[in-house]
Symmetry: C2
Subunit: 419 residues, 2 copies
């Protein structure tokens, strides 16, 4: 065993058996060297790992102190003390079982080794090899054919939309048929657009065909063809945010608008937060040929926002085929949890109308309700309230973050609130 | 030694001694298992590391192939084949010697271990513990006193400016006295602002007191006081981008505008790309109390853009005091390179007027020039041309990316072009 691991274990044991209590100060690094007859580096490394694992904290100019030893995972979460939710049916966060974080960690570690690349700024448009991998991936997966020079990488869809806004200055109205994407709508408002929620009558139409509503309606084929037809006749730009398309319940996802359109008028967008881990911010958009030319001409106006390390890691992750297998795994997991939630509510809350969202990831519940919206948080359960009027409430429930074993318990709580 | 390391070494040796040549295909994973009598996982791990180290590439559905073995670092850079520059005096990229990438890698690895946090989306405003660490850091370092709830974290200054634009909708004119920050200027233009470059006469004034011009002028104390006074009288907002302040040549940096102002009208911004590694995109801004309230009220309009892993890593990196030591190291390195460049040009190109920029990081060269701007690239040297008219050229040279030993050679090339 390495020396510093021994030192780490030594202090860990003292903390765990209570010999060192919360608030106790550890010996200074110099003192620890003397006490344990080891080098300064050894102690530093050991303290570093104790810090990383939440056993101690470092206080500026004072030293190292033992933390409260509730459980390590709680200590880690100190950053979010406000969250007192036991049953999360709202956030869309991920659960531990669905994600192979270890695998992702390996790719990050590998990316960190490419020192030469990390020393320079990221390419404005996104790393070239990542764009090539994305180009291959969306061609195979969604029949979206676009060369890498039409792909822009960025930290999140909202940022990409702001780049787009800057490129299409001649347009005035935008439509967001799904009213729930507030971040997109307010961005266009800030850019001076007239924003409405009808399906047509707009220079730009933002749709998310696999996630049309908060509870996950999927746009039917007929509607897709109509929309493509409309945009071809009027010259409107369609922004197709392919959010959740990977997660469709049906075995065959419906074709992308991009693939359906014969003209150069669909901007295609995708994201990886929901198949990798939510903390990763890498999205991409495929510009039309016209807009790609404009981007090329005004490249100096933009800076890359996505982490270069994560771009390098994602590129290799995609090349090695992990996105597809990871997607299948997450989908299987999430849809089975949604099904379980659906079944449980049907059984426990028989007077409610329960629907499983089209995409199989969300459950919609409608019933009479005489309580208050704050009742949910008071009972430590978080839900999205879609509608609450005339004594009737409609909830959208997303069971991605909750553990499977907690679903029956969450439904018992729901039942007590709704009845 | 671990089994997979043996397999890794086995193939590495075959590649290095030429038994496996560029383009040769490696045995499939299954075949390699049989040949070497090891498990599938062992081969996979070995191939993974060969990939990571650039010895092989993986071709979709075909297999693993040996790469061109020029040198590993060249192979890694395949993503940027277009860059044929030998002497980089322009990019502001970092050099290997200045950055302790290994140290940063450790913090990233440690952050990757906090699984619980990585499974949820990042806080819109930035991770709470990072904001606390930033608050402590800027108070101590720049006398900027602001509670964490006034700090917004995001991927780059441009993104943060777009958040700011969204918060201050009632203002119409903005001034960018330093004309070189195109990304900022065009952003405000996109938001419908009237943008000019005078020092005053604006609702918002963007200044970068430690980097006032492309060659690094520092704003003198008198001018700082005047500006603060002006903004207090007129109610203008000052955006103080403290870019490069860490790098000031003088032993004592001049005080921040934020600290000089008694009123609530300075938005303070900072960034870490230049003290960590350029590929990291984490910046922050301190909002005025008024704007912080507006942000709180419109939080739902924004999404976090910075990588959560990197936010967690940076938080601990700051807490452990590495920013300060790293800054000192980088500054020492860069200013000594700038001084060397300055001395060499003075000696070799005696007819040029040479100045060392105020901040000690850039060198300004003016002289007669009868050639063309493309001459520089043709000679594989990159420079920023500040001005070229009437047979006279002015260059700004940034020696951060170039190796110390290459500076004399670069000056010989410069001399041949300029004479």
């Amino acid at each position: 065993m390495k020396k510093y691991v021994e030192v780490y274990d030594y202090f860990k044991k003292l903390i765990e058996n209570g010999a060192l209590k919360a608030g106790d100060r550890l010996p200074s690094i110099r003192n620890a060297c003397n006490i344990l007859s080891v080098s300064k580096t050894t102690v530093q490394n050991a303290y570093f790992d104790l810090l990383a694992d939440g056993y101690i904290i470092s206080v500026d100019k004072s030293g190292y102190y033992v933390t409260e030893q509730k459980s390590i995972s709680e200590v880690k979460c100190e950053a979010k003390p406000e969250r007192q939710i036991l049953y999360d049916l709202k956030s869309g966060d991920a659960d531990e079982e669905s994600f192979d974080i270890k695998l992702w960690q390996r790719y990050i570690k590998s990316a960190l080794r490419s020192q030469g690349r990390l020393l320079s700024y990221s390419e404005v448009q996104g790393e070239a090899d990542l764009r090539q991998a994305l180009s291959d991936y969306i061609r195979e997966k969604r029949n979206v054919t676009a060369s890498p020079d039409r792909i822009i990488v960025g930290a999140g869809v909202q940022w990409l939309l702001s780049v787009l806004c800057s490129l299409v200055k001649d347009r005035k109205t935008v439509s967001f048929p799904d009213k729930s994407f507030v971040q997109g709508m307010s961005l266009f408002e800030d850019y001076g657009y007239d924003v409405h929620t009808r399906y047509k009558d707009a220079d730009i139409i933002y749709v998310s065909p696999s996630h049309m509503t908060a509870y996950g309606d999927v746009m039917p084929m007929k509607r897709r063809l109509e929309l493509v037809d409309y945009s071809e006749k009027t010259g409107s730009i369609i922004i197709e945010d392919d959010f959740d398309s990977d997660f469709l319940y049906q075995s065959k996802p419906t074709p992308s608008l991009y693939a359906l359109s014969a003209n150069d008028n669909v901007v295609y967008m995708g994201s990886f937060s929901n198949v990798l881990i939510p903390g990763i911010r890498i999205s991409y958009m495929v510009l039309t040929q016209e807009l790609a030319k404009r981007f090329e001409a005004s490249k100096h106006k933009f800076a890359q926002t996505a982490s270069k390390t994560e771009q390098i890691a994602l590129c290799q992750y995609i090349r090695d085929g992990h996105i597809s297998s990871q997607t299948r795994k997450v989908r299987r997991h999430y849809t089975s949890k949604a099904r379980l939630l659906f079944d449980n509510i049907k059984k426990e809350v028989p007077n409610a109308a329960v629907t499983l969202g089209d995409n199989g990831l969300r459950v919609l519940v409608s019933c009479d309700f005489s309580g208050e919206i704050s009742d949910f948080e008071k009972n430590k359960i978080s839900v999205s309230v879609i509608k609450f009027e005339d004594g009737k409430i409609t909830l959208s429930l997303t069971p991605s973050a909750i553990k499977e074993c907690d679903i029956p318990k969450a439904v018992v709580v729901l039942k007590s609130i709704l009845n």
